[in-house]
């Protein structure tokens, strides 16, 4: 639930917002000055230290799919503000603002495409849409994409980038954890492979549902992966967390992901994984 707390101070956010404007950017990890087109060609990795810049669904689709094979689905599903949620702003106005600033229509983009000639049902979360939070629309798009995989016997791949469940849909967001897990239980019974890719960050209600339910779970280097956000933990235990806590390498060491893959190797490793499942 800590997406809001995190995003306020996250350097990567400001970098990403600036990227479309400036010609160059600075690596938040090592300070290296990198030209934007160079960054694009290098999978949005720092050429010096391999820092993984945060990217959205459009970039991941370019990286993973065979050229001109991807078609987006379920772009017509919209939130209804079922609880008429109001804090300092209305939920409806937050959603309207998110449409405008993010360039995507929800925190999850779904579609069908080919990876090395094999059809895949795919979804990728957009952290820049209300912190990549999961509400009813994310749940429903996930559900339809999973059903496509089930009915067409294709692998199902989801890339997560999220602070967890969407607060403005309260209990209905919480129920999306059960909804997405329920359809995954059917995929499991039918032998449809589900590949879960965890990027920075994957926490809260998403890590505690489909994020951690992959037949194969892959993490990007340095990604924050956990249930509770680091600040909530620090408030609870009243001390600083050790360096590297909840990072992909830490999560690997504790046995909760299958492997860590650099973004420039992601497509090749997915091709091999899918081949093992589908050959």
């Amino acid at each position: 639930m800590a997406w809001f707390l995190r995003s306020k101070k996250n350097i990567q956010d400001s970098v990403q917002r600036e990227m479309p404007d400036g010609l160059w950017t600075k690596c938040p990890s090592c300070g290296e000055v990198i030209y934007k087109n160079e960054l694009e060609e290098n999978f949005y990795l720092c050429h010096k230290c391999s820092f993984h810049f945060r990217i959205g669904s459009k970039e991941y689709i370019d990286i993973l799919f065979d050229e001109n094979t991807f078609s987006e689905t379920n772009t017509n599903i919209r939130s209804t503000d079922p609880l008429k949620f109001v804090d300092s702003k209305t939920y409806t106005s937050r959603i309207d603002a998110a449409y405008k600033t993010s360039g995507v229509d929800e925190a999850l983009t779904t579609g069908i495409g080919q990876i090395a000639g094999r059809t895949v049902s795919f979804g990728c979360m957009n952290f820049n849409f209300i912190g990549g939070s999961m509400g009813s629309v994310v749940g429903e798009k996930f559900f339809i994409a999973a059903k496509y995989a089930l009915e067409n016997k294709t692998p199902f791949i989801i890339i997560s980038a999220t602070g967890g469940a969407r607060m403005q849909e309260a209990a209905l967001s919480l129920m999306q954890m059960a909804k997405t897990s329920a359809i995954l239980s059917v995929l499991a019974e039918q032998g449809i492979p589900f590949i879960s890719i965890l990027t920075d960050p994957t926490t809260g209600g998403v890590s505690a549902s489909y994020g951690m339910l992959g037949d194969i779970i892959i993490a990007e280097p340095g990604a924050l992966i956990g249930f509770a956000g680091p600040r909530v933990i620090e408030q609870t235990i009243k001390r600083k967390l050790p360096e590297g806590f909840q990072r992909a390498e830490f999560v690997l060491e504790h046995g909760f992901v299958d492997f860590v893959a650099q973004r420039n190797e992601l497509r090749n490793i997915i091709i091999k994984v899918i081949d093992w499942f589908m050959a």
């Binding site: 609880l83 209905l172 919480l174 129920m175 999306q176 059960a178 359809i183 499991a188 209600g205 235990i237």
Partner: protein, 313 residues
């Protein structure tokens, strides 16, 4: 005593004072009248509870907790410990028991009664080994075709270092997956607090029941206030905005039934709470027992597929 109950207790104090006086003078009429006023006041306060007041009732230190229901609703309860991997989590308890003669598996979050027992129970905030113990008991119940009853009462899964190291997220996720597949009836009851992933980690079932003054949401009003209002002071507004009461959740089909509480809240009459839960469970189980296992699982999945609110343009 809760803040909003102060006027009631002040009036009750007056009744006591008059009783003491009445040993010398006959005040029985006035006492009787004042007692009536106390009840009227209680009723009027409890008729229009705000969501935040209900949150306070759900947290009342004398409200029945899981162990109370185990002792008073079920018979022959035997607690089963441990996740068979790293330990036993006292914040989730479970075991075999009987409901009106039918063998069932009961699992619930366990809070304490006082500071000492609350420390032992970690205030009902479970660690991964708690969710994994529950998962083990789910499978045991399924293996021997015993229905499962879960009792939800937690301020959230524990946000600690070891909890993260041991895969809190994975432990909860696995429970969601398993509960969606178990071929035995599952009845979920929110008895007190139902906060976040820590609650739904025991919360997937065929029937979701909720006590009148329990609350269920993605986050506590306090944390919601601190994140969205950037201050801890807006918990009352947050409680309202989150639509976390049983009445609100029935409206959006997150729960199936509201279990009524005595006027004044569950802490005022434990026996009534036990009786209400017992008859509700028996009624639901009688229905669920008739449904073939495969159909039961299909219906359960369908129930959760339909949860949420969206439109297709």
């Amino acid at each position: 005593m809760l803040e909003f109950e102060k006027p009631i207790s002040e009036l009750e104090k007056k009744v006591d004072e008059m009783r003491q006086l009445s040993t010398t003078v006959d005040l029985s009429d006035s006492i009787h009248e004042l007692e009536k006023k106390v009840e009227e006041l209680r009723e009027s306060i409890y008729r229009d509870l705000t969501p935040w007041q209900r949150v306070q009732i759900a947290r009342h230190p004398e409200r029945p907790i899981t162990s109370d229901y185990l002792a008073n609703v079920f018979t022959d309860f035997i607690e089963l410990h441990g996740d068979r991997s790293i330990g036993d989590d006292p914040a989730i308890i479970g075991g075999m028991g009987k409901l009106e003669g039918q063998p069932v598996m009961i699992i619930g979050h366990q809070k304490g009664r006082d500071t000492k027992s609350n420390v032992k129970r970690n205030f009902g905030m479970a660690n991964p080994q708690g969710y994994r113990k529950a998962n083990r008991l789910f499978h045991l119940a399924e293996k021997f075709k015993r229905p499962i009853i879960t009792l939800l009462d937690t301020p959230g899964a524990y946000p600690g270092i070891e909890a993260e190291e041991r895969g809190q997220a994975e432990a909860i996720a696995k429970n969601l997956l398993q509960m969606a597949s178990l071929k035995v009836p599952i009845i979920v009851v929110i008895i007190g607090e139902g906060a976040s992933g820590g609650a739904i980690g025991l919360g997937v079932g065929d029937r979701i029941l909720m006590f009148e003054n329990a609350w269920y949401s993605v986050i506590s009003p306090e944390s919601c206030s601190s994140i969205l209002w950037r201050s801890w002071d807006f918990k009352e507004q947050a409680a309202t905005a989150l639509k976390l009461t049983a009445m609100d959740l029935k409206e959006v089909n997150v729960i199936d039934k509201i279990l009524p509480e005595p006027i004044g809240g569950g802490h005022r009459d434990h026996n009534q709470m036990f009786a209400t839960l017992k008859s509700a469970l028996i009624a639901e189980l009688t229905e669920l027992n008739k449904i073939p296992a495969d159909k039961l699982v299909d219906q359960r999945r369908e129930k959760f597929y339909n949860m949420g609110s969206w439109i297709t343009k």
